[in-house]
Each structure stands twice: as C-alpha cells, then as structure tokens.
Symmetry: C2
Subunit: 419 residues, 2 copies
C-alpha cells in the first residue's frame, strides 16, 4: 500500500463487534479488536450453560481462533476505560498505553440493570457472561444439595423455590429449563427430598410474559410454562430482593435461589462517546449509526439506541447487533470508495423463545407458531448461528444426548467458593 | 431385613471411594458417600483440562448421577473434619450434625506438598482438582496474552518460559502438552509474538524423568520430550519459587508460569484415624487395609501406606486405589458372611505416561514400549476407564477433533479474577 492503511478499533467481540471485524476482512484497513474476555460468547445459549446442559466451551470460542485466518485483525485482551475523541485514541483501564484509531466501532453491549437497586445484584445474579452462567449453575445445584443435607440430618427442609424475576425471553427460557431439571433431570438423584416438589416461579411486572411478542404467542408461552409446572405471576412488581426471599408488595415469597432477568443496562462506555444517551444508558445514534458530530465513531448492538423509519426501536437482540456490525463495516467501505453514507434499516427476521426441552414460541415472516415445531425451528436457527463447526457439532450431540437421556451433562459445581 | 443393616460411611469419591461404594451395591448395607465436591474427577486426564483440550464436564461426573441406580447409596456434599473412633461417628466442618458408622472407609486422597514451603503454592499451582486445572489453564493462556499486549505496545516482552517442577508422570504430561500448545495450537493466533519462541523447562530433582519407570523408558521419555522442544533439567533441586522466577542453587530461571508436579501430601484426615503415618502423612495400614486396632476402619487409595509381601510400596496411582476400594468392600462382605479377612495384594497391570499428542512410554506385563504405539495404548486405556458412556464418547470426539485440527477446543479464560 502507498497510503497508510486506516486503523479501525472495535470495542467488544459480541455479535456486533465480531461481525464488524469479519466484514472488514477484505478491506485495506487494520483492525484492532479489544475485549475484556478472550472469548466470544454465544449469549442465546448461555442459559443452557447455567442449566448444566452445555459446557462453556460449547458456546464460546477464543477470539484469536476465530480471526486466525484474517490477517488484518489484531486481538487485544483488555478493559477500555475511555476515549479521546479529539486525539482519536482509546485508553485502557490498567495501563497508560493508548491505541490510536481512524475509525472507532463501540460494541460494548449491555449488562444487568437493577432499577436503582444495585444491592440486589449479589442476591439475584443475571445472565450475560460465562461466569454468570456458572454462578447460576452453582446456586441452583447447591440449593438441591443443601435441601438434601438438611432433610437427611433434620428431617425437613425449607421450601425449594426458584424465583425468576422478569418474563422476557431469558426469564421464560430459564424457567422452562429449571422446571425440566427439577422434574426430569434430578428425578432419581436424591434420597431424602423429592426434586419434583421444587417450585419454579416466574415473576413478570407487566400483564403478560414475552411482552415483545404478540398476545397469542404470549398466551401460548404462558400455557406451555404452566404445562411444565412453572407458576407464572404477572403484574408482579418486585419491591425487595433479599437472601432467602423476594417481596411483591406486602407478599413475601421464600426463595432458595433468585435469578434476575428483568432489566438490561447499557455498558458505561456509552457515556464516554460524548453523545445523548437514553434512560437505559444507550447512545442515541444517527441514521448511519455514528455518534452525531463524529462521522468516524460508530455505536452498534445493545449499546445503540436507534429507531427505524416507522419509529420502532431496534430491539436488543443478536440479529440486530449482527446487522449493525456489518453495516458499520459497510460504511467504512463506502468512505474508502468515496461512496455516500446510507441509512441503517433493521430487517426483522423473526423471533423464537424456547420453553423447556421440546416447547417454544416463534414468529417468522408474520406467521406465529408454537410447541414442538417452534422448538425444532429454534434448534435449527441456534445451531446455524453458532460460531465454528466444532461447536455446532458438539452442541448438537450434547442436545441429542440430553434430550434422550434426560441428563444434563455438565452438572458440575466447580466454583472456588464451594469447598 | 430383620437385623439393622450395617451403615458404611465412605469419605471421598475418588477412585478408591467410588469403587468401594460400587462394590457394596449388592450387599445388605447402607452406604453414605461423602465428598467435598459434587463430582468424581477422572484425575489422569486433568492435565488435558489444564491444557484446554477437554472441558471439565468431559472428565468429571456428578456423584449423584453415578449412583442414581444404586439405591443403597446416599451421597452427601460436605467437608469431614474429624472422626470419633469410639462412638463411631463422622464430624463435619461446618455443622454439629454427626453421621454414625458401622464401617468407615477413608479414601480422602492426597493434595500437593511443597516440602515445607507452603508459600510456593500460590506461585506454582499443582494439579489435583478441576479448579486447579482451570487456574493453570488461565495462567498459561494469560501468559501468551500478556506477552502479546506487551510486544504490541512496547515492542518487546519478557521471555515466555514455562517451568514445570517435578519430572514424574504429571510433569511429563504437562510439559509435552505445553510444548504442543506453543508450537502447534497457538501457531497462527498472535501477531506480535511467536508462540514457538516459548520455552518449556521440566525440572527434576533426581537423575531421570519418570523415576518410577525403568531406565530405558525414562531415557525414551526424555528423548521424546526433547523432540517436542522441552528442555529437561535433571539433578535440578529447586531452592526458591517466586513470582517471575525459579531458583536452582544460584541459578535464576525467569518464569512466566510455574507449575508444581513435584510432591504429593496425604489428606490431613490421615492424622485423625489414630494410627501411625509416614513422612508423606499417609496412614500405615494393616494387611487388610484397616487401621491397627480398628477392624472396622479402612484406609484406601493415596492416603494409605502399604507395602506388599516383597516390601514394595503400593504406588499412589488410580489402579491401586481402585483395587484397594474394591478390597475394602470385599472385607465388609467377608464379615457379613462370617468369612475370614484376607491380605491385600496389589496387581500391577502396567503404567503409561503420555508425552504430547502422539508420543508416550509404557510397560505392561514386563514389556516396554514407547512412541505412537504406547500413545494408542494410553488412549485406549484412558477411554476404557472414564466413568460413563457419554464421557467416553465425547472425550474420544474431542481428542479426534484436537488431533486433526491442532486446536485445543476449550481455550477459554473464565476465571472470575480475570476482568
């Protein structure tokens, strides 16, 4: 090359950042991809790691391995603390070294939001990372172990209630999987307690579960959850989350384990790009997904707040992040080829939420479906989009094994806190 | 049953305890199996978890799942603190509840021994548990990441030395696997460092690696290690283990990661059975593996010190623990059937140590072999003895995948300490 190649720095190797980096493969740019973890996590299947069906390595791939063959990508493991938009540099948390950029793509995603009650976080973990999933797995398995030991030594045990706060897709998936575990997987494993006596409660603040879905599918999901033994409580506004119980108004619900699936808060990096953020902390981006006033700074994925022409906000889901990441790369390509910038349009390819081991609801191209056929569609889509042949193959095998044996393969309590 | 069934309490679900419990399946006894973990770990393959080839769930099985079908076994998760040999009870660490026994089988195994330098433990982790393996994996992968970041930002990095202290089977296996990782797996993953420049040093205090093997196989192992690029140092007595370096006499060896494979110390529970212990803390047991003076207390596996008729000590290996566990169960059966106790004899079926992805040394029935054929034998034996069909199947697939792709499948850094 004669001219110096532009340097594109991407923050975050989730769906948005990963797809941006891939789409830049053939362009005369140098890409630096920075993430706090050494692996990309396939978040839609995280709940299966939490529920001990899959192992972390089944749904996560080392970022370096993904980009081994793409020579214009460099991968850095590190935590970004801030940007200097004038000097065009990225600052890390733990070192004075800065990384310069010509283009910046911020794809730092979202974490959990506890509606101003950050003290609930340690009591009710959410599900965003492999570490979250292993912590949830540990708590769920330990609840059964504690009940067994208590029953063996004292003759009784506290109620084995699992409470999931939030009836969106993650909450519905966790509730269905938990009901499966209690009724099927653990069935013959204990001598003093009956795992089937465990209660799974799904608390939703609004009028229906899956509020982003049409009413008929929400109703179908609720029915399928009931069939699995999940108690769905709608209009249930949680007012306190404490060790051992959850409060709804004046009602106290005992809880062996409480899980949080109610709120998502954008990465704090959103505050550092010098643009307006919405209530959830997401950056309000322009039509080309850039930060107003900074044509070379893109924000994509869960961290971006963007509404399409009709005013519908683009949802915080994997397909949206993928499309945004590819679009940002396409705009950099347009600049290099002196083409004009375009307006981002989100193509909604449909939604699927799974409920237990053979149920689901979905909508694709205006068609609503539920039950086993929706579950097969869910299976197919999630295998297709998993990164890497090995992962697809192994996850399919693990699912087949789990499906026919009723055995979660990965029921290991491996946390260091456990002695 | 008319008479009260005798209660057999087994401490530890390693090879010894697990096989004792299984052998008691058909007997009119109640078995209580207590372990600190909820899973049995197939220790011979732990180094493959540490080296990111296998996932924890591939080599560990939930203890409850193993005994699901054996109705006379109850599984307790807990840490045993002490025994009352007169009242015949077991005490836990964190509760006043005690468990009574008619027979006690102590199979608590061994941990690491640092020769009076416990402060070395945090610098140089050993490999006994899943948690150990994940910590070693984290340190090894982070060493490459740190070097890459340093090279990218400052133009250079410290020497990437991996030092393994101890040239027994575990040390040899770790060294071979590390050399493979640096030379093959990581080959194309970095842009600033050349992973092949990493040095793997295996330090052995005695005159040869694999000191428990005959001289020709030790020599063969050393040659195979050299072929993989491992630097073997014999007569190397380590005098200091500090962050960043290891000292041998006056020589200072810089170390990015130091691993400990040099010493094994018996579980501290050995001191609580009221019998003589040897220098390594192992309980000196009678001919029937009981504690002298307590015919109903057996000690089996790595915690037992026992020499056969010729005075050869039984080695601390899985086959010995399996044979001892089964023998203790057989002696309980003999008591129930009013048969006399017998003398334990260890049947040495041979030894195998693997070196990297296609080399090994072994001896079976007096025949010595090494190289690829020994590696195939190692593969076969370790698949055979893995617990559970699922594990055997998945581990075989993971190995096949890793073998042909040169890709460790599980290269995830998932520790909480990593941000």
């Amino acid at each position: 090359m004669n001219a110096k190649r532009p340097q594109v720095v991407i923050i975050g190797a989730g769906f948005g950042g990963l797809n941006a980096a891939r789409a830049l493969a053939k362009l005369p740019v140098d890409v630096i991809l920075i993430d706090r973890k050494n692996h990309h996590t396939f978040q839609p299947l995280l709940y299966q790691v939490a529920m001990a069906v899959l192992s972390p390595a089944d749904i996560a791939s080392p970022i370096r391995a993904i980009f081994r063959g793409q020579k214009n990508v460099k991968v850095f493991l590190g935590t970004v603390a801030d940007f200097d938009l004038d000097k065009q540099t990225v600052k890390f948390e733990d070192t004075d070294v800065t990384v310069p950029y010509d283009y910046l793509i911020v794809a730092a995603g979202a974490g959990h939001a506890y509606f101003g009650h950050d003290e609930w976080a340690s009591v009710a973990p959410g599900l965003k990372t492999i570490e979250d999933a292993l912590e949830i797995r540990r708590r769920v398995l330990m609840a059964f172990e504690d009940a067994e030991r208590r029953a063996a030594t004292t003759g009784g045990h506290e109620s084995l209630n699992f409470i999931i706060v939030g009836g969106g897709a993650t909450g519905v998936e966790l509730a269905g999987a938990l009901a499966d575990i209690a009724r099927r997987v653990m069935r013959n494993d204990f001598r003093y307690i009956d795992p089937k006596q465990a209660r799974v409660l799904l608390l939703e603040g609004g009028p229906t579960v899956l509020p982003a879905y049409p009413p008929d599918l929400s109703a179908s999901a609720e029915k399928q959850l009931n069939d699995l033994g999940v108690e769905v409580r709608t209009h249930a506004i949680v007012t306190a989350v404490e060790p051992g119980f959850v409060r709804i108004g004046d009602e106290v619900l005992p809880a062996a384990v409480t899980l949080w699936a109610a709120g998502v808060g954008a990465s704090s990096l959103g505050k550092h790009v010098g643009a307006k953020t919405d209530r959830a902390g997401r950056v309000v981006v322009a039509n080309d997904l850039t930060v107003p006033g900074h044509r070379n700074v893109f924000v994509v994925g869960d961290l971006a707040a963007y509404a399409d022409r009709e005013g519908n906000p683009v949802p915080g889901v994997a397909p949206a992040a993928i499309q945004m990441g590819k679009f940002a790369a396409a705009m950099i390509k347009a600049d290099l080829e002196r083409e004009p910038r375009r307006t981002f349009h989100y193509l909604d390819k449909g939604s699927l939420a799974t409920i237990g081991r053979s149920k689901a609801v979905g909508m694709v191209a205006g068609i609503h479906f539920s039950g086993f056929i929706a579950w097969l569609a869910w299976l197919f889509v999630h295998l297709m989009f998993l990164i890497g042949f090995r992962n697809r193959f192994f996850v399919m095998l693990q699912w087949a094994f789990t499906y026919f044996s009723y055995q979660g393969a990965a029921r290991l309590i491996t946390d260091k806190e456990q002695t």
